[in-house]
Amino acid sequence: MSAKVKIIERKGVSYNEKLFLVEVFKGMRVTLGHFMRNFLDNSKLYVRHYPEVQPEISPRWRGRHRLTTHEDGTVKCVACFMCATNCPSHCIMIEAGERLDGKSEKMPIRFDIDLLECIYCGYCVEACPMDAIRMDTGIYSSTSSDRQSMLKGIDELLTTPGAFTEEDYKKGGV
């Protein structure tokens, strides 16, 4: 199968275009159309009336992080540092320790995510070999008046519930 090649005409080289004026009027016609439509009936605006109307979050949305647990409630994370290694903003700080419950040898003693530094790229979720970190809490707005409370520790990460069912999450949205 050969690739389709679409040759796009180069804009801005004809005299009319270099003169700007004609093109300026064309552009202004377009924008005025939008203005008049919205001005005469502002129910036609494309925006959602946030915060009264909350957005619907897809399971693929990268919201705030959480740490998942085994069915018995123990943390899935084995402190392999893959997330911290992949993190482009270095916002994950882990301290590993011995694990004694037999699930693994290693577990995080400290697992901090600094939401002020996080860029919500989702690389930590991609990197995790244990499916231990997910960004499926559906929380898209994290605000605080002090820095310390934006540093989410392991307890908060573990107790924050996911917003989707396992099937929806696995399916990855519609």
């Binding site: 300026v24 924008t31 005025l32 939008h34 001005f39 502002n42």
Partner: protein, 428 residues
Amino acid sequence: MSQLDILLIILRVAFGAFVPLSSVALLVWMERRGAAFFQDRAGPNRCNIMGFRAGGLIQNLADGIKLAFKEDIIPGHITHKFYFILAPVLVFMTALISFAVIPFADTLVLGGNDYVMQAIPLDIGILWFLAVVGFGVYGIILAGWSSHNKYGILGGLRAAAQVISYEIPMGLALVSLLVVYGTVNLNEIARFQGQLLFGCIPMWGFLLQPLGVVIFIVSAFAETNRTPFDLAEGESEIVAGFHVEYSAMKFALFFMGEYVAMFVSSALIITLYFGGYQIPWFTTETLISHAKPVALVLILLIPVGMYFITGWIKKNNLSHYIRLNDPRAREAKVYIWGFWIFTLVIEAILLALLLFSSGGNTTHIFVALLQIATFLLKTYAMCFVYVWVRWTLPRFRYDQLQRLGWQTLLPLALLNIFITSAVVVALS
């Protein structure tokens, strides 16, 4: 000097000073809501006083209060504090006083005395404007330089280069215009445009100078540092350019200066090219002699207009999502009542004029008010063009800006002078 003289001086100066100032709020509102509608957004519409949002105007109040109460910071590295403080004042004041020569109504005749409806009744008119506006850019250059900041100095340099490039075509466009009008007095220019071309078309500047009006408007955009010529600010490349180190009220002065300048240059554009305060086909003399029929037409037209406006409010001042006892509908009801009461007052005044007036001073004042309303309407329409252009066109690149100024506008302006002069000589 009679008491009336003093009163009218106060009134005219007050108009010259306060109309541009209070227009700032309106223009900022127009800019923000306009920008939003151009981009299919809603714009600021949440700020309210007891649920009354005035279509978002309250936001300006909040912003103004915020700016006034913000800490006024002068960064420690600034050595020339005097110039640093002088710069925004210069920008704002030059913009404001350049409005002084613009006539907002025809000469008012009261009790046999003539009152020129300008804040400062100067004969030099347009020359005053050119001088004062040209001075305004010193404020920007001074701000850039005294900020002691590379972005600031770049912004200042850009502003300087831009003004040099665009004052020339602007001046040349004016030259051909003045050749047509044969005067520099703005009031006479406005009165000139009250004539009719071929007996049926209003002789407005843009019809006599179709090329000149384009050159002048483009240059005026550049002079006011508005998009697409706001290279001095250029937030994508030089942060905020000349006002990067400014905060609080000093920043607010720059901000207000920009909108005052926009208002003033709109006023000038309509005075020079769009008939100023003239109502098409109705010269001052016609209006004075036919005041009663005009009032009668207004009595009939105003309720019709108001009907559409209130309908528009009712339709748009709503929450567009499911909401119990929508407070916005209630709010709209109050506005509609307000508008109808306002209409009733106007109607009553017009009716009184129709029934009890016997010409003379009352008629003259009525005509002057009509002309002021026309003037403001036209000016705001021009301001809307400013907003419209800003949210349509992206910023020019620096080389494009200079090429447009020197290689397109300058030759066109010269050509325009040549053609205009030839035509004027041929006709006379």
